[in-house]
């Protein structure tokens, strides 16, 4: 049997007295788009950062295709991933095309500068940006354009696994729709495995194959997006219907 692309086994992570993850068990299969939902501060970003080695779990295991994430060649491991950060995390001192082609300008994936630029422009076109944007600096772009550049950078080296950290936060509904559509299209055409973190229910419905709800440091519910509305789980119902009353305390 093929192992899942990413598997979390009994994962724990605390920051001082704040026990953020308290035994996470979750499987994400190859080519699947998993969306993780949950309130602010429930540890969704921490989960992704643990996979990438930006944070070290206190206990438990993360397996990527059956192999522990922390073992083996670190560069080769990270080369399999692309990530779109919440605020874009574009490098201010570089132009847009240099941001997108960052991986192609240095390290093991290094290519000639002209070739790297051509790939960057192609990726920018893929996310709906024109060539003239390539020579601008991130500060000259709107929030929506920065997100698109971040998306282009995430897919520039054709990764197998892509993480999206709150891809529509801070965008207007139309731009959110555009980003959601792009993410869905790109993940499908690349055949990549995707994990997305969001509070935005329109994103969940547009992007997800599977949904997992994180609450109180554990996976409260997981299943196909089509079953989300009929789960019968009071926590999930309260969250997806944006109700103030329910088992989830409004003041945390």
């Amino acid at each position: 049997m093929t192992p899942p692309m990413i598997e979390f086994r009994n994962l724990y992570k605390s920051f001082g007295d704040n026990h953020v993850l308290r035994g996470i068990d979750l499987r994400v299969n190859r080519g699947e788009s998993m969306v993780i939902i949950g309130g602010s501060g429930t540890g969704k970003s921490v989960l992704l950062k643990c996979v990438l080695g930006l944070l070290t779990p206190d206990k438990g295991q993360i397996l990527v295709e059956g192999r522990p994430a922390e073992q083996g060649d670190r560069d080769a491991f990270l080369a399999r991933f692309g990530m779109l950060f919440q605020g874009g995390a574009l490098f201010d001192s570089m132009t847009v095309w240099q941001n997108v082609a960052f991986r192609l300008l240095r390290g093991k994936l290094k290519r000639p500068r002209d070739e790297a630029r051509a790939i960057a422009i192609e990726k920018l076109r893929r996310v709906g940006l024109k060539e003239r944007v390539a020579d601008l600096y991130p500060a000259e772009l709107s929030g929506g354009m920065q997100k698109r550049v971040g998306l282009a950078r995430a897919i520039a080296a054709d990764p197998e696994i892509i993480f999206f950290d709150e891809p529509t936060t801070g965008l207007d509904p139309i731009m959110s729709g555009v980003i959601n559509k792009l993410i869905r299209e790109i993940v499908t055409e690349m055949g990549a495995t995707a994990m997305t973190i969001t509070h935005d229910m329109s994103s969940v419905r547009a992007i997800a194959d599977q949904v997992a709800m994180l609450h109180d440091g554990k996976i409260r519910w997981t299943g196909p997006v089509g079953q989300m509305d009929d789960s019968g789980d009071p926590y999930l119902d309260q969250f997806i219907n944006a109700r103030a009353e329910g088992p989830i305390e409004a003041v945390r």
């Binding site: 950062k49 990438l52 080695g53 930006l54 670190r74 560069d75 990270l78 080369a79 991933f81 692309g82 990530m83 950060f85 919440q86 605020g87 995390a89 574009l90 490098f91 201010d92 960052f102 991986r103 240095r106 390290g107 093991k108 994936l109 950078r153």
Partner: protein, 261 residues
Amino acid sequence: MGLISAFLAPIGHSTLALLAAIGRVTIFTGKSISHIVRPPFYLREFLSQLLHIGYFSLPVVGLTAVFTGAALALQIFEGGARFNAESVVPSIVAIGMVRELGPVLGGLMVAGRVASSVAAELGTMKVTEQIDALVTLSTNPMKYLTVPRVLAATLAMPILVAVGDAIGIMGGWLVGITKLGLNSGAYLKNTVDFLESWDVTSGLLKAAVFGFIVALMGCYHGMNSGRGAQGVGRATTNAVVSASVMILTANYILTTLFFSS
């Protein structure tokens, strides 16, 4: 008993915090040095930092040096007059500049300009997740951000100080011939005759160490910056203060090593 522990507890906490900070800085220093000698090397980043840290610091170092040299000439002339020793002005200005004032004041001025900007830049990169982004793009932030800055500052600082020394000596000469009535040719001859190569070399070695300290403190505080604008502000202040204190401490230690026979 309770009163004694209430008095001693804060001292204990502060001591432990200080030791922990020293430990963290030591580990950071060790990591930085180990990354300097291991590939990959980012030449483009290094050259860019050389320009930012070295070339763009020239005006501030030059201005500091010229006024320090000029003031030093005035002071020594006034002081020397008490012993009829006005003629020592050129040699003392030169020795004072190249051994002590050039590297120390240059180091402090560069600490103010460079440690703050490095800490603010890296601190902002940290809070906007740009450093995390570097990691996900298979790039080690220590190699890509810290090594070019530390190396550039260590190499640029002696050059800056050498230029500053020359400008400082010229500042003293200018005051000497225009205000103190000293002979121009005799001033320059005195300067050259009394200055030894070790005076210059020791000052430049100090400058290299100060450059290393400045960039290291900027990078350390920037990469360990707290969240938000307040975190970046605190990192910037801490970088300048710690770099300045370390420069003055290192100056005493190096002076003892170089000149106590």
